[in-house]
C-alpha cells in the first residue's frame, strides 16, 4: 500500500478511536474493548474498499456492511461519522433517548447502517441474504460483515457458514475479530471456538489471516481473496481495547465506560498517537 494512503488510514482510524472513547464516555455505557479492536478494519472498508457514497446511503448498487457483532456500534458510528454519513458531534448522543445512535445499530434510524443487528449470530445470516440477493438480481455489489470470535459460539453462525458455501456466495467476506476475549473471559476458557480457521475451511470457505492493526497486512489479505466461488473468512488477529494502554487485552473493558479521569488518559494517549502520525513520525 502507498505510504501516504497508509498514513491517511492510520490517522482516520485513530480519530475513529477518539470518537469511540468520547461516545462511550458520554453515554456512560457501551462496549469500548471490541469497538477499539475493529476500528482499523472498518476504516479500511469504508475508506479504501467498499463502493459507498455518504451522500447516497440508499443506492441499491452500493456494497453492504453488516456489523454482526452489533454491540461494537460505537466503532461503526465513529467511522461512519469520519466518512461523512452524519455529523461527528452526534457521536455524543450515543445510547441517549431520542438518539439515532441506538445502543445497537438500527438501519431505519441512521443513514449508513445497512442492517439492524445486536443479537449475536444474526448479522451473518442477513449478510448471506444480501449476498444471495445480489446473485438473484445479477448485481455486482459485495457484502462484508464483522463477527466477534466469541460470537461464533452461536449455532446460527454455523448454519449461515454452511449456507454461504452451499450457495456459493463468493461476494461475501466475513471478518472474524479474533481478540481472544469475551465477557466471561478468554474464548479458549469459556467455550472455545478454536480452531476458527479449520472450522471455516471445513465449512467450505476460503480462510485468510491478517494483523488487524496493520493496514499493509489488511490490504494484502483483501487483495488475496480468491475468486473461486467460495465465501471468504478473514480471521483478524486483534487486540481488544487497541490504542488505549489500560484497556488493551483487558476483559473488564468489554462493556464498561471510562470515567472522566480514564477518558482523559485515553484521549491523551490517542491524541499523542494522532500527533505522531500527523507529524509523520
Amino acid at each position: 500500500m502507498d505510504k501516504s494512503k497508509k498514513r491517511a488510514l492510520e490517522i482516520t482510524a485513530c480519530k475513529a478511536r477518539i470518537g469511540v472513547i468520547d461516545a462511550v464516555h458520554a453515554a456512560q455505557s457501551g462496549h469500548p474493548g471490541g469497538s477499539l479492536s475493529i476500528c482499523d478494519a472498518l476504516t479500511y472498508l469504508y475508506f479504501s474498499k467498499m463502493n459507498i457514497d455518504p451522500h447516497a446511503p440508499h443506492d441499491p448498487q452500493r456494497d453492504r456492511f453488516v456489523l454482526s457483532k452489533g454491540h461494537c456500534a460505537p466503532a461503526l458510528y465513529s467511522v461512519l461519522a469520519q466518512r461523512g454519513f452524519f455529523p461527528e458531534e452526534e457521536l455524543l448522543t450515543l445510547r441517549k433517548i431520542g438518539s439515532r445512535l441506538q445502543g445497537h445499530p438500527n438501519m431505519n434510524d441512521l443513514p449508513g447502517i445497512d442492517m439492524s443487528t445486536g443479537s449475536l449470530g444474526q448479522g451473518i445470516s442477513a449478510a448471506c441474504g444480501m449476498a444471495l440477493g445480489a446473485k438473484l438480481k445479477g448485481k455486482n455489489f459485495k457484502v462484508y460483515t464483522i463477527l466477534g470470535d466469541g460470537e461464533i459460539e452461536e449455532g446460527q453462525v454455523w448454519e449461515a457458514a454452511m449456507f454461504a458455501a452451499a450457495k456459493k456466495l463468493d461476494n461475501l467476506t466475513a471478518i472474524i475479530d479474533n481478540n481472544g476475549l469475551q465477557i466471561d473471559g478468554k474464548i479458549t476458557e469459556v467455550n472455545s471456538p478454536e480452531p476458527i480457521n479449520e472450522k471455516f475451511r471445513a465449512f467450505g470457505w476460503n480462510v485468510l489471516t491478517m494483523n488487524a492493526h496493520d493496514f499493509d497486512d489488511i490490504d494484502r489479505a483483501f487483495n488475496e481473496i480468491p475468486q473461486n466461488g467460495k465465501p471468504t473468512a478473514i480471521i483478524q488477529k486483534s487486540v481488544k481495547g487497541k490504542g488505549v494502554s489500560f484497556m488493551e487485552n483487558q476483559v473488564g473493558w468489554h462493556g464498561t465506560a471510562p470515567n472522566d479521569e480514564q477518558r482523559v488518559q485515553a484521549i491523551d494517549e490517542l491524541c499523542a498517537q494522532l500527533q505522531a502520525l500527523e507529524r509523520g513520525v
Binding site: 453492504r64 444474526q122 451473518i124 445470516s125 442477513a126 438473484l136 446460527q156
Partner: protein
C-alpha cells in the same frame, strides 16, 4: 357453502405462490419442507427464485431479512413450530425490528397437525407473533381466503405472518369474496350471541350457528382472518348488540384470538367472553378431526358450549 371440495390452506398457499409468480416478483425460501409446506409447487414453476435453506430455520429467517434489506419481497416457509417458535428471536430482531418485507408462510399450525403429536402442534404462534410490533398476522379460513391473503401480503410493505393448516378444509367463502386486510367478516347475522372464529374454526363456528338457528338460537358468526391489526370495530359492535361472545381457534387460549378479543371488549365494551381453544396443556397424537373434537373445536362442541352459556343466563 360447499362442503364437497376440501383443500388444506398450505396447498392453497403453494398454489397461490405459483400463480402469483406471474404477476409479482418475489423469492421463496424453505427449510427442507417444500413437499409439506407446498412451496414445492412454486419451486417447480420458478426454480431460480426458490432457495432451499436446509434444516436451519434461524438462518433462513436471517437470510430472508437480508434479501428483504436489499429490496426483495421474500416468503420464508416452515412449520409454525419452527418458523414462529424456534426462530422467534430472529423473526423479532432481524425481521420485525427493522420492519423488513418478509412474509412468513407458517404451515402445520395448531392441533390439527394430528398424528405428529405435541412437538409439532404449534398452539403458541399467534401469541408469539402478536407481541412483535408491526407484525401483521393472517389466519385464513379456506382456499379462497388463503389465496387472497397471499396476494394481500405481497402488496403490504412489512412483515406478515401467514398461519396455515395441514388439514383439508371446505370453503366458507364464495368465489366473489373480497378479502380486506384487517377487516373481520360477518358470515351470519345473530342477536343472542356472537361466535368469533379464525382459521379452520370458522367453518365449525358457522355450522354450529346453523344448528343453533334450528333450535331458535340466533348466533352471529364473525370470521377474523386478520388477527393483527385486529378489527376492533366489528368486535365491539358484536359486544354491544349480542352481549355474549364465544371465540374459537385451534390455538392456546393464552394469547390467541380469544385473548385479543377479550382485550378489546375489556377496554371498549365489557361483556361475557368464552374462549374455546387449546387449554394450557400440550397436545398429543391422533387424527386431526378427532383431536379437534377432543379440544372442543368442532361444530357440535361449539353448539353445546353456546347452549350452556345461554342456559346459565
Amino acid at each position: 357453502m360447499s362442503e364437497t371440495i376440501k383443500k388444506a390452506t398450505r396447498q392453497s398457499y403453494g398454489e397461490a405462490l405459483a400463480e402469483l409468480s406471474e404477476k409479482y416478483d418475489f423469492a421463496v425460501l424453505d427449510a427442507d419442507l417444500a413437499a409439506a409446506t407446498k412451496t414445492g409447487i412454486f419451486k417447480k414453476k420458478c426454480p431460480e427464485r426458490f432457495i432451499d435453506c436446509g434444516i436451519a430455520e434461524a438462518n433462513m429467517m436471517g437470510v430472508a431479512a437480508g434479501l428483504a434489506a436489499v429490496g426483495e419481497t421474500v416468503f420464508a416457509s416452515s412449520f409454525a413450530m419452527f418458523a414462529a417458535g424456534r426462530a422467534f428471536e430472529i423473526v423479532r430482531n432481524s425481521i420485525g425490528y427493522p420492519h423488513l418485507n418478509v412474509k412468513i408462510g407458517a404451515t402445520h399450525a395448531g392441533i390439527s397437525v394430528g398424528e405428529d403429536g405435541a412437538t409439532h402442534q404449534c398452539n403458541e404462534d399467534i401469541a408469539l407473533m402478536r407481541t412483535i410490533p408491526g407484525m401483521t398476522i393472517i389466519n385464513p379460513a379456506d382456499d379462497i381466503e388463503t389465496k387472497a391473503a397471499v396476494e394481500a401480503a405481497i402488496n403490504l410493505d412489512g412483515p406478515v405472518y401467514l398461519r396455515l393448516g395441514r388439514l383439508a378444509v371446505p370453503n366458507v367463502n364464495s368465489g366473489d369474496y373480497k378479502f380486506e386486510l384487517g377487516k373481520g367478516v360477518q358470515l351470519k347475522e345473530g342477536k343472542d350471541v356472537t361466535i368469533i372464529a379464525t382459521g379452520l374454526a370458522v367453518n365449525e363456528a358457522f355450522n354450529a350457528a346453523e344448528t343453533l338457528e334450528k333450535e331458535g338460537v340466533s348466533a352471529r358468526v364473525i370470521n377474523i382472518h386478520t388477527i393483527k391489526p385486529l378489527d376492533t370495530e366489528i368486535i365491539l359492535k358484536a359486544a354491544r348488540e349480542t352481549h355474549r361472545i364465544v371465540t374459537v381457534e385451534e390455538h392456546s387460549v393464552i394469547g390467541g384470538l380469544g385473548a385479543a378479543v377479550a382485550d378489546t371488549v375489556c377496554a371498549g365494551c365489557p361483556c361475557h367472553v368464552t374462549m374455546i381453544g387449546i387449554p394450557d396443556v400440550y397436545g398429543y397424537s391422533g387424527k386431526a378431526e378427532q383431536l379437534l373434537k377432543e379440544f372442543g373445536i368442532s361444530s357440535e362442541n361449539i353448539a353445546q358450549r353456546v347452549r350452556g352459556i345461554l342456559r346459565e343466563d
